[in-house]
């Protein structure tokens, strides 16, 4: 169990929205990384992609999705990391999303795990658990969250990058 947990940087989206959010110049001084996002898209597009070090190749993922009455599982060789609240869901509600990236500065391929939920005020909403792999041995120095299509992070969407040390 990690015994340190430090906020490295945080960003809150302003009134103009944002097509994507990138944490750059991530220090290599931690053991693991966590990003926590409270987010909403201003459009109907709310599927998100991730990119480490601006690299868009050699990703794979498995997704378990449930809505309280049914569950489904999919897999793919892409950068999909879940879906947050879209414009079609209850106004002013934000989805929660978290990614855990262990050993991000090491020289092995980079695994990551994600859990996220869409919030829709007790009507149908989805929860996601995702296991992902970036088959690249480079240390992670940047992390980008972006919408796959025309999504835009709504004002007040907030992302914080945390670093975890094991000593």
């Amino acid at each position: 169990m990690a015994n340190t947990y430090e906020a490295i940087a945080t960003v809150t989206v302003g009134s103009g929205g944002a097509a994507d959010i990138t944490f750059s110049s991530i220090p290599a001084t931690y053991t693991d990384l966590i990003v926590k996002l409270s987010g909403r898209s201003t459009t109907s597009d709310a599927d998100m992609y991730i990119a480490f070090n601006s690299n868009t190749s050699n990703y794979s993922r498995r997704v378990l999705r449930g809505n309280g009455s049914a569950a489904s599982s999919t897999s793919g060789s892409d950068r999909y990391v879940g879906t947050i609240d879209s414009s079609g869901e209850t106004a002013s509600t934000f989805g929660n999303w978290e990614i855990y990236v262990p050993n991000y500065a090491g020289s092995n391929n980079k695994s990551y795990s994600i859990d996220s939920v869409e919030e829709n005020n007790a009507t149908q909403a989805f929860q996601y658990f995702i296991a992902g792999l970036w088959s690249n041995t480079s240390a992670i120095t940047s992390l980008k969250l972006e919408f796959i299509a025309a999504g835009t992070f709504a004002q007040y969407s907030t992302a914080t990058l945390y670093g975890i040390k094991n000593s």
Partner: protein
Amino acid sequence: MSHKLIVDCSTGVTTEVELTAEEVAQREVDAVAFAEIKAAEEAAAQAKADAKASAQAKLAALGLTADEIAALN
């Protein structure tokens, strides 16, 4: 044109940068590709659900009770 936010973790400074035409074009390409992936995943899930329903109906026709069919899941 939309912009992106870049947070420099070494300084804590956030910068707003306009998306380039290439980035906008790439998003459109990604959107088309992912829509195809999603459609294939949904079709596969539907086919699996249809096959399950068909199998359950055939088991019921053979005389299995609902509880017996559920026990096979």
